[in-house]
């Protein structure tokens, strides 16, 4: 008996007698002797609750989190404030502990949340239909590729190099199975090169993929890029940061067929990369090829309004090998945080938060680029994130600068050289509402000194 099971010796005796066996081992007699373990697992003994807490706290203590330093890291996940109310709602047993609403009569809470979530995502993206969540951003983009493949059966994908590197990789990994060719279009001055884009797209292209804003923080000309793809009958997929969509034009208004994205920015914790949620919205003609759960409205036997999972014949448990996706468990609880967060911000708050990010980001960009040894990588409009280049020796130089800043409690951002060889000494700096002007001023001072010290150190050894 562990603390999570309840069989006393008396229970055990009565239960075995009812079953008609003499021992628990007899219940496992169908396992052939050759594959029985015959020993205890080589794992340590169990621990008390307080010991487990202490152990997990010790591990947590060896991480430097956004609680411990002034953090300008972004690149797909951002240190936004999560309202206390969300912790309370996500901790409620009624949201935390049920499963997928297979019995709608006792799952109206979860189903209505899905319906509200779908409504909010449609509003944000300007598209007709949304599902109730997929895993996270990059796999959502790959799922959009599968929808395109089912739709037009063409064999090529064209993806902007501005799309998150993890999304580009997930698309390659997951489309390798169904044998797609993936072509990447380079950036020019921080945005997708329109000429290279146009020359890459022809009638063999199933779908094109655009990041908005892109990984360097730049706002893309989504309408222009989409128009080129549509001329050739390719589906247009846009991966958008939902928290910028109070400021930026809705992808649905710009010729986009499918809008996907990472939902972490909407009320979800960083959690070292997950769980968060992905969203997936599309024009209505694609609804029967969408992946994942979709909630719909209906009535009960007495005519009361209610909600159910619907269009389930798309899904794996019914259509099996012909399903539009294999997804089953998605990210319902994280999507709940997402819709509550959007309602918490509200109609004006989404715009106000966006404007705050735009103003502080502009301030930070100007201030950083005024530092000797720091230059902008591009001059495109940005919302919440921008890319600069440090006058140091490539990625290793940037990493040494980051080490110097860490000592002073500042994390200036993501070293772009980790994923973009063409920006080896690049730094991606992200701003949220939690990074005040004072924090930005601190960054300017600390980064300036670190860059100067790095240049001095290299100069001294040279």
């Amino acid at each position: 008996m562990s603390r999570y099971t309840a069989v006393t010796p008396d229970d055990l005796a009565r239960m075995l007698a009812t079953i008609g066996v003499d021992s628990i081992d007899e219940l496992f007699s169908s396992i052939p002797a050759g594959v029985r373990l015959g020993r205890e697992l080589a794992l340590p003994d169990g621990l008390s609750e307080s010991e487990v807490y202490a152990h997990l706290r010790e591990l947590a203590g060896r991480n430097v989190s956004a609680e411990d330093e002034v953090c300008f890291l972004g690149g797909g996940m951002y240190d936004h404030y999560v309202p206390a109310m969300i912790d309370m709602l996500l901790g409620r047993s009624e949201f935390l502990t049920p499963y997928t609403p297979y019995q709608p009569e006792v799952s109206q809470g979860g189903l209505q949340v899905m319906f509200e979530f779908q409504t909010a995502i449609c509003e944000l993206t300007g598209l007709d239909v949304s599902n109730a969540s997929v895993y996270e951003g990059p796999s959502a983009l790959a799922a959009a590729g599968y929808l395109a493949k089912l739709t037009n059966k063409r064999r090529r994908f064209v993806i902007s190099r501005g799309v998150h590197p993890h999304s580009r990789e997930a698309l390659r990994t997951l489309s390798a199975g169904y044998d797609m060719e993936v072509e990447e279009v380079p950036l020019r001055d921080g945005v997708t090169d329109p000429e290279a884009w146009a020359s890459a797209i022809d009638e063999t292209v199933s779908a094109v993929f655009i990041g908005q804003p892109n990984f360097l923080g730049a706002v893309e000309d989504v309408a222009g890029l989409a128009a080129i793809a549509r001329e050739h009958g390719a589906l247009v997929v846009c991966s958008a940061d939902p928290l910028t969509l109070g400021i930026l034009e809705a992808p649905g208004e710009q010729g986009v067929d499918v809008c996907v994205g990472e939902g972490q920015t909407l009320g979800n914790r960083l959690d070292f990369g997950g769980p968060s949620f992905g969203f997936f919205a599309a024009r209505s003609e694609h609804v029967r090829r969408m992946p994942g759960r979709i909630a719909g409205e209906t009535v009960d036997a007495d005519g009361r309004r209610g909600f159910v999972l619907t269009l389930q014949t798309r899904e794996q448990h019914i259509r099996r090998e012909k399903a539009t996706s294999n997804i089953c468990t998605a990210q319902a609880l994280n999507a709940l945080a997402g819709v509550v967060y959007l309602c918490w911000l509200g109609r004006r708050g989404l715009v106000e938060l966006g404007e705050l990010m735009v103003q502080r980001t502009a301030y930070a960009r100007d201030a950083l680029c005024a530092i000797d040894g720091v230059e902008a990588i591009h001059s495109q409009p940005v919302v919440r994130e921008f890319a600069v280049s440090l006058d140091v020796d490539g990625l290793d130089g940037v990493l040494r600068v980051l080490d110097r800043c860490a000592v002073e409690g500042v994390n200036p951002g993501y070293p772009l050289g980790r994923t973009y060889s063409e920006y080896a000494s690049g730094l991606l700096v992200a701003i949220t509402e939690q990074r005040s002007r004072a924090d930005i001023d601190l960054l300017v001072g600390v980064l300036g000194r670190a860059v100067a010290a790095e240049r001095g150190a290299v100069g001294a050894t040279a």
Partner: protein, 545 residues
Amino acid sequence: MSVQSRPGSHETAMQRDRAETIFAKGAPGRRAFVAPAIDVPVRPLDELIPAGMRRAREPRLPEVSEPELVRHYVNLSRRNFDLDSGFYPLGSCTMKHNPRLHERVAALPGHARLHPFQEPSRAQGALELMWRLERALSEIAGLPHVSLQPSAGSHGELAGVLLTRAYHDARGEHRTKVLTPDTAHGTNPATVTMAGYDVVKVGIDANGGVDIEDLRAKADTDVACLMLTNPSTLGLFDENIEEIAKIVHDVGATLYYDGANLNAVMGKSRPGDMGFDIVHFNLHKTFTQPHGGGGPGSGPIAVSDRVEPFLPHPVIVRRRVGDDEQNGQDHRHPADPADTGSEIFDLDHDRPQSIGRLRGFQGNYGCFVRSYAYICSLGAAGLRDVSEVAVLNANYLLARLGELGVLDLLTPAYGRVDHVNGGEDVAESPGARRKWGCMHEFVLSGAPMKRELKIRTLDLAKRLLDHGVHPPTVYFPLVVEEALLIEPTETETRETLDRFAESLAEILREAREDPEIARGAPYTTPVRRLDEGAAAKRPVLRESL
């Protein structure tokens, strides 16, 4: 219980409370959010982002106060049934208790506010936790290598079939088919198609196991993989597993283990020892990540040596300080004290044969924290106890249903064991050996009930809602008519199992007198039976604003 369904006359308070979405609430100007002041010099927006790129029309989000928002969602939560409130024997989903300790440790800022792009040298606690969890899962599966990256079971399956493809490609072999038994979860065939293979179904034998002759006939060198869950979705351990593994390996294919049913065999038998090459775990089933109303989940995979080079990247490595040797296979106990200072953990992206990434970052770390805490709490003996009690509870419930006569109308389709012990005469005498057996779950067929009482499994399930329990999985597996898949888990007490058995007996008794009651059920839930046909015919998928 009245079978009237006139609205109003017998409505519960919750039924009177008609569904109204958050979009229908609030008023212009209300807000829950107040933005921090803009503390930098404000520039005209047109200078920063050209008007043509900016949004022309605001998204029509609700305008509500914080108290309104809290009340709306708390009231919605009350329209859900949940595991903390009652019995939830949803077969194949392993609805076990979710300890609150896990929520507490996952919320520690060192875990919850850790940015996924933090430099590995400043995320040592997280990487060490993941490494320890990998080692523990490796030991449980009996396979040496683990990737935590997949987001859920179906994502793990896709990883596994893509690994299979990479493995065969590297050997210059181009295989086209993947075998799945008729009893497979729908995710298996759906995954096979997404990975570009053709599904070939394998039949099942009279005991619910893989039909060995059919497997032998279909296993050829075009077969890339056999996907199997063991125990199967019928809740039965396939006694021919060693022979199955041999047949599959003899044609050079991989053997994939769908870990949905791992809760039956922890510390008793290991997929690696059964001959499986690739295993996925459902942390949200076996390792008690809360189900969240449909996620988040997490679907780590464990693999054999021959599949290891192809694992998704990055992989977590441990390095001794001052030692270049990467040590991903160290067999130290996962909860041994940290050897801080003499070893460092890192993410290795330099994996030339890797299938690549399946998703962003390192996987659902918050789920890893919870599942690792669970393994630390239970230890080796505790995990074995979990599987033993899960199997005990399922067999006890099955036996109680037999005692109450329920199995006359809801019959086990497979899993007869009394022939081993001397046949039915013995089985029917008091205190005799058991007639039916199962592992951690069992499947019943409602076909006799439908024939005799004229109620369907769906009606029975809906009537169970009025008894305050969540119904089992219904109409799965597909090979069993009017199926009912029951998984009590190790969480439940004997008393709960007794009450559930009595509820089923009571519903059958009631239906014999008046089947209309079950056909009209449920009566006490926030809404009554919902018209799913209408929802699908004319889909309304969002609030109209």
